[in-house]
Each structure stands twice: as structure tokens, then as C-alpha cells.
């Protein structure tokens, strides 16, 4: 493997990472909004939540990617493959985040709700000061888990011609036939990205736990 091949792979990795990050951010907002629907007092909104989560989670990412890739032009929305890819990941990961956050809300002990209630906290303050901080602490490990998965899942988007690490690797393989070297290096790069994300998660965890949270970091 020569330097230009490696550069190409690293460029692809940059796109993969950018894809993951530009999807994780909006997916977090989508997930939080979905969770709010899931706990709505209106049954219709709760059904909407379940419908979204079950349908999206029950569809293979590959199928969802193809569906959106072909659906966008049919809807007269002309976007590049990158935007389509980020959209696919956002919609998919949003459903996973929603379930992660829902688990966090369910994990809040009843006495905490009662304390907040007995203080007469208005809903906005209750969410911002009590629910959200607790959910963040409870869900950080599974949240990071989904983030790591997102980095790897971005490889699926090569099928809809998003030029990222996996597509770059396949192009190089077609030219050089160095299947195992190139795939090996690509896998190593994926590993390093995921490992970095993991470490970041751990640091965040430790920072949050140190601020008085009952659980000790493991």
C-alpha cells in the first residue's frame, strides 16, 4: 500500500466520521423530540411515537437507505448522495436514540418525580433541571453505544454512492486487487474512530459522575 492509497482511505474516513457526526447531532434532537411524544398525555402522539420507532427500527438500514435514495428524486428533491446519506442515518439513529432516552426516563425513580412535583416545578423547569440531567446520566453508556454503531453503519451508505471509507476501499480494491490489505487498513481505521468515540464517552461519563451522581464510573 502506497501513501496515496492511504491518503485516499483517510479522506474516506473523514467523510465517514463527518457523516456520523452530522447525523448524530440532529438525530439526538429527533430522538429527544420523539421521546417527548412517547410520554405525551395524548394517546395519538404516543401511537405516533411507537409507529415511528417500530417501523424505522424494524427496517434494515440498507433497505431504508435505498428507499430514501430513490424516494428523494421521486419527490423532486434533488440532493447529493451525502445529504441523502446523512438523512438516512439521522432518521434511523433518531429512532434508536428515542428508545435510549425513553429507557432513561423510565429509570428515573418515582421519588425523584415526587420531589419535583411537591416543589410545584413548572414543566419546563422540571424537564431542564431534573429530567434531562438525570436522563443524560442514565443513558450516556447506551447513547455512546449507538454513536459507535452509527460510525460503522455509515459504511452501508456506500451502496447509495456516498463516497466514504468503505466506498473508497472498494474503489482501491478494484484498481489494485489488494483485497485484504485495503480492507484490513479500512477496518483498522473504523476501529480507531470507534475507539476514540468510546474514550470520549468514558471521559464524559467520568466528568458527569464526579459531579455528585450516585453511580461510580466503572
Amino acid at each position: 500500500m502506497n501513501a496515496s492509497t492511504l491518503t485516499l482511505l483517510l479522506e474516506g474516513a473523514g467523510v465517514s466520521l463527518a457523516l456520523a457526526l452530522t447525523s448524530i447531532a440532529p438525530a439526538t434532537i429527533l430522538g429527544a423530540a420523539l421521546t417527548a411524544l412517547g410520554f405525551s398525555r395524548f394517546a395519538a402522539l404516543r401511537v405516533l411515537y411507537r409507529l415511528y420507532v417500530y417501523v424505522v427500527r424494524g427496517t434494515p438500514l440498507l433497505v431504508l437507505a435505498l428507499l430514501i435514495f430513490y424516494a428523494l428524486p421521486a419527490l423532486d428533491l434533488r440532493t447529493g448522495p451525502y445529504i441523502a446519506g446523512a438523512l438516512v442515518l439521522t432518521l434511523y439513529v433518531g429512532a434508536l436514540f428515542a428508545e435510549v432516552f425513553r429507557g432513561g426516563v423510565l429509570a428515573i425513580p418515582r421519588p425523584q418525580w415526587e420531589s419535583a412535583k411537591s416543589l410545584g416545578l413548572p414543566p419546563a423547569a422540571m424537564l431542564k433541571k431534573v429530567i434531562a440531567p438525570l436522563v443524560v446520566r442514565y443513558t450516556l453508556p447506551p447513547y455512546i453505544n449507538v454513536c459507535v454503531m452509527t460510525v460503522k453503519a455509515s459504511s452501508v451508505l456506500s451502496i447509495i454512492s456516498v463516497w466514504e471509507l468503505t466506498l473508497a476501499a472498494r474503489e482501491i480494491i478494484e484498481r489494485t486487487l489488494a483485497v485484504f490489505t485495503v480492507l484490513g487498513v479500512a477496518a483498522a481505521i473504523y476501529f480507531i474512530m470507534c475507539f476514540g468515540l468510546d474514550r470520549l464517552g468514558r471521559r464524559l461519563e467520568r466528568r458527569l459522575m464526579a459531579r455528585g451522581f450516585a453511580g461510580e464510573p466503572v
Binding site: P111, Q112, E114, S115, A116, K117, S118, L119, G120, L121, P122, P123, A125, K129, V130, P133, L134, R137, R211, G212, F213, A214
Partner: protein, 251 residues
């Protein structure tokens, strides 16, 4: 003044409160005693509407709480916003302290004033510091609950309840979860509140403490207040047969 009239509450098909009538006057300290499962905690929780009830009326200073009766006789819950205002007039202290683990002692105490009563941040902090000093925790303002003993956590919880300047303190077995040597410091804080003549309703198993601080003791049995009166009366000349039996067992 708190008035409870004909309060009924059932969990599924099991009636817990079968028509409780109760009146607590301003400045009065009322202790509720009774066997575990008799409904005394449920009664306390109903007063703060942490527990819904099926029938009856609860009034605070002559204003009906939690439910309104429409002109057509239908019972309707008050809107959430009104319920929050009602809750702000009461301070609750729980058996398990229930401090927010992600907030310092000071943040715990300031949360209600700051966000429920919209007190300016600086004033809330001053109030919080003052109250924590009052419960003997001036040096723990920045400590997180996990770093405090049970007794200290419960004192923070009392300060948190007081921070709302409540008309009544509802104390639910506040020393039951504590190690015996920590009970005293929490009881001392409650004692120190007595000169302020703040209305208190406490559910307790500590008969000695109840006798010392309460103006009246109510014995809850069979889903009603079976007997109520001055502490000496209740503890020394009980009339109710089950109360006599209860006192014999507990001593």
C-alpha cells in the same frame, strides 16, 4: 388551617381511607400514628396530591385543594398550573430524603424558590445559604447528596421544604430510614422550628418524639382517624381497643 372531610381512597379494590375527617389549625403540630399499612402515609400524600383520592374534600385556609365541584355537581381536577401553586404552599419531607443527586445541597434548596416561585437567583441563593446554615450545614452548601450522611441529607431536604416558605410542613416518617445515632440531629432541626409555629403534620413511629413536639396525636386505624387528642391522652389513656393493643406492642 387544613381541613379534610370524608376522604376516601382505595388502591384497586382495597379501601385504604374510608372517610377521614381531620382539622389541623394554624401553628399546630399533629402527629399521625398507627400500624404500618393503616393509611397514615397515604393520608399525608393525599394532602399534597401525590396520591389521588376517590372522594372527599381537602381545604387549605378555606380554599378547596385539588378538586372543584362544578355547578352540575361533577367533581373536576384543578388545572395543573393551579395544582402547582397549591403544592408550593406545602413543604414535603420524605422518608428517603429524595434529594436530586445531580445538584449540590444549595442547588437542591434553591430549586423551588428559583423556578417555582421565580425568586431572583441572587435572593434564592441567599435564602438557600441561610436555610442550610439554619439546619447546621453552612459548610456543606456545595456538597452533593452522595457525599452527605443520611442525617445531613434529611436536613437538606427539610431546608428544601422550608425554602418554599410553606404554610404547612408534611413530614413522612422522616427519621425512619436513618441510623439511630443520626435521628437526633434531624429531630433537633424539627424542634428548632417549633417557636415559629409553622403548621406540621408528621407521620411517625417515634412515639416519644411525637409526644414531645405534637399538640395532638391522631391514631389511624381501619381507614379513619380512630382516636385523636392530646399526646398524654392518646398515649396514656387510650380508649380504642386496637390503640391499646398497638401501644402495648410498640413498647
Amino acid at each position: 388551617m387544613i381541613e379534610v372531610r370524608g376522604l376516601k381512597k382505595a388502591f384497586a379494590a382495597t379501601p385504604v381511607l374510608r372517610g377521614v375527617d381531620l382539622r389541623v389549625d394554624d401553628g399546630e403540630v399533629l402527629a399521625l400514628i398507627g400500624r404500618s399499612g393503616c393509611g397514615k402515609t397515604t393520608l399525608l400524600r393525599c394532602i399534597n396530591f401525590l396520591e389521588d383520592y376517590d372522594e372527599g374534600e381537602i381545604r387549605l385556609d378555606d380554599h378547596p385543594l385539588w378538586y372543584r365541584t362544578d355547578p352540575d355537581g361533577r367533581r373536576r381536577r384543578v388545572p395543573d398550573q393551579e395544582a402547582r401553586r397549591m403544592r408550593q404552599q406545602m413543604g414535603v419531607v420524605f422518608q428517603q430524603y429524595n434529594l436530586f443527586p445531580h445538584m449540590t445541597a444549595l442547588e437542591n434548596v434553591c430549586l423551588g424558590p428559583r423556578f417555582s416561585q421565580k425568586v431572583p437567583a441572587a435572593d434564592a441563593l441567599t435564602l438557600g445559604r441561610k436555610l442550610l446554615a439554619r439546619v447546621g450545614l453552612a459548610d456543606k452548601v456545595d456538597a452533593y447528596p452522595v457525599h452527605l450522611s443520611g442525617g445531613q441529607q434529611q436536613r437538606v431536604a427539610i431546608a428544601r421544604a422550608l425554602a418554599m416558605r410553606p404554610k404547612v410542613l408534611l413530614l413522612d416518617e422522616i427519621t425512619s430510614a436513618l441510623d439511630p445515632e443520626l435521628v437526633g440531629e434531624v429531630e433537633d432541626v424539627i424542634r428548632s422550628l417549633l417557636p415559629e409555629r409553622i403548621m406540621m403534620v408528621l407521620v411517625t413511629h417515634a412515639l416519644g418524639f411525637a409526644r414531645e413536639i405534637a399538640h395532638r396525636i391522631g391514631y389511624v386505624a381501619g381507614g379513619v382517624i380512630a382516636e385523636i387528642g392530646r399526646p398524654e391522652q392518646i398515649l396514656e389513656q387510650p380508649q380504642d381497643a386496637t390503640l391499646k393493643d398497638f401501644l402495648r406492642r410498640i413498647r
